[in-house]
Amino acid sequence: MKTGLKGSLLTCCLGAALGLALAASPAFAADKVVKIGNVEPLSGPSASVGVQGKQAREMAVEEINAAGGIKSLGGAKLELVYADSKSDPTVGVTETERLINTEKVNLMTGCWNSAVTYPATQVAERYGIPFVVPVAVRDTITERGFKNVFRVAAKDSWWVRDQFRFLKDMQDETGVKLKTIAFVFENGDWGTGFAEKWRELAKKDGYQVVLDEPYPSTATDLTPVVTKLKSANPDIVLLVSNAADAILLTNTMAEMQVKPKVVLASGGGHADPKFLENTGDTAYGLFDEVEWNTDVNKPGAKETNAKFKKKYGYDLTGESVDAYAAMYVIADALERAGSTDPAKVRDALAATKLTTGPAMIVSYDGVEFDKNGQNTNAGIVIVQVAKVDGKPERVTVWPKAARRAGYTPVFPANK
């Protein structure tokens, strides 16, 4: 009896020692994973962009893992854990809670919709979990003095700033003077945020605002909005739309023969690959603002795009490039942190200076965060939908330095 007890105690000790030794050995550590929680709109009105982000993340993580994972963590692999926000802030918050508490993720990314990202980042901040936001443009996401929130893409005041720079540059370049302007935008966080800044800048640049119209993104019919646009007859129309309403607006404008001189969209739905597929020739002449375009002149961009297209059947978008880059930003930070401890990962993220590597297919020069976690380098390009080889294509036109060689923008688009 006595010896039996002793014996079992001994076995226990031996077992524990063996366990410790195993844990310390590289063979065991190679099985270690870093869990990355992703809240994305995988169903509902923004599902197609959610899926783009998901696929881009998967491709990046596949590459990172195939290249040996996070070396400073003994080759730890990245693992993506998804949750569907349905574009609903409430769902986004509960899913973030679940990923952090139940799935025990080490980092968070997401959520595309500003309205979801805003409260979701708040949850992560409360738990002290680093949150890398690839896209979600609302300014205030990185203006609350949070320690754990980092945004790779530009914020919406920069998008608006560049829209008005573009309008001014193009008028200077072509000598065409445009006076009246109309705002048409989806009634969510994103659209109303843009509109606020449009009003400011339009006033500053001396445009006359003839229509300022929010509309619900779930509207079944946008003919009423287009009718209003027709009677306002503006030179310039600025748009913020999700995919479904972007398609509906463009087609309805063609149907109702509304032809403003310049239609300038703000990415999102207009940048969705489904947009051109569903509008075709009715979209010719449209200007759109994006983080990225396939003809952007950056090393590796063409190859990465070709790889993505082969895998998923469509070109990379601004959303997917930022999601792709975000995974490399995370991998880079983990590598430098050498730990999955949230505080250490957070510090490593804050010290990011990424200017080389696969992530640099982005249109700007690098990733470096300011004290609020905003990437100070993030920038934007403007494209025009043009007929190239008989098919509608998005051609980079602005900044002028980035313009596709041999292309002259059609400005104004409708004379």
């Binding site: 599902a47 009718t227 479904a244 109702m256």
Partner: protein, 294 residues
């Protein structure tokens, strides 16, 4: 003024189509006394059927009107026969068959998710001969797909009303709607009538799918958008009333289109819901509703 007249024309055309989407819902309610929560999904099935038919065969969208509704009729007929009827029979003794309503909700989820699995979440439109085409009526512009939709919607409502009045099946449907026990005693097979009513409601969703697809896009949860409209329209027009559905649709279409000219279009949504609430308070049976239903 021009804008208001233009908006009125648009409102009438779109309103008739809202009415058309509500027609199947009101028919099924009228006969079965069941609020069919799967109606939007059936509309989605109709839109996808029209989409694939036009996309794969390249036929004119209005030829699809001859093919899609009959297919949808059998789909609805079998759905009721195989899925809903057993629940109905189990609840024979209950005046308000609640479980059936829950079953239709289940059908909604199953159909939407099935479509999501099969076709993905993306938006699809099919470019047809009449997509984005319009004609001028003086200084007003009439969209051809919407105008055709309007004509089809009115024709469907008139056709359905005539069918209910003049044919034997129509009379059986009406008899069952008035009193299912009495109709049963008169030798009408209640469950067969339900099958037919559900089939007809689904076929109308198929008609709506055919006229919507030339200018609207389809995706798995597209039904939800139209569903809420359809419910409001049906309550507005009177549950079970065919002219009520059409009139309710026109009212909603006109509010949406004309009011938008004077205020931000986000407000019209609120106004529609406000009117819905007022109707519920003042005249819960709607414009043409039968009081004894409630």
């Amino acid at each position: 003024m021009t804008a208001v007249i233009q908006a009125t024309l648009n409102g009438i055309m779109m309103g008739a189509m809202y009415g058309l989407t509500a027609l199947g819902l009101t028919l099924i309610f009228g006969v079965m006394k069941v609020v069919n929560f799967a109606h939007g999904s059936l509309l989605m099935v109709g839109m996808f059927s029209a989409y694939w038919l036009i996309k794969l065969t390249g036929i004119h969208p209005y030829l699809a009107l001859l093919i899609v509704p009959p297919i949808l009729y059998f789909f609805g007929y079998s759905l009721q026969d195989l899925v809903i009827k057993p629940v109905f029979k189990a609840e024979r003794q209950v005046r308000e068959p609640l479980t059936v309503i829950i079953v239709t909700t289940g059908v909604w989820y199953v159909l939407d998710n099935l479509a999501l699995m099969l076709f993905g979440a993306e938006y699809r439109t099919v470019r047809t001969a009449i997509s984005n085409k319009s004609f001028a009526l003086g200084q007003f512009i009439i969209s051809i797909p919407k105008f055709s939709g309007f004509v089809v919607a009115v024709a469907t409502a008139v056709g359905l009303a005539l069918f209910m009045r003049k044919t034997k099946i129509g009379m059986a449907l009406r008899a069952t709607s008035l009193d299912r026990e009495a109709a049963n005693l008169m030798g009408i097979d209640q469950y067969k009538v339900y099958n037919i009513a559900f089939g007809l409601g689904t076929a109308i969703a198929g008609i709506a799918g055919c006229v919507l697809i030339p200018f609207y896009y389809v995706y798995p949860s597209v039904g939800v958008v139209f569903d809420i409209r359809a419910f409001i329209i049906v309550v507005l027009g009177g549950l079970g009333s065919i002219p009520g559905a059409l009139l309710g649709g026109l009212v909603i279409g006109l509010i949406e289109s004309v009011f938008s000219q004077f205020m931000a279009s986000t407000w019209t949504e609120a106004i529609i819901y406000a009117i819905f609430l007022v109707i519920l308070f003042v005249k819960p049976s709607g414009f043409f509703g039968n009081k004894q239903d409630w």
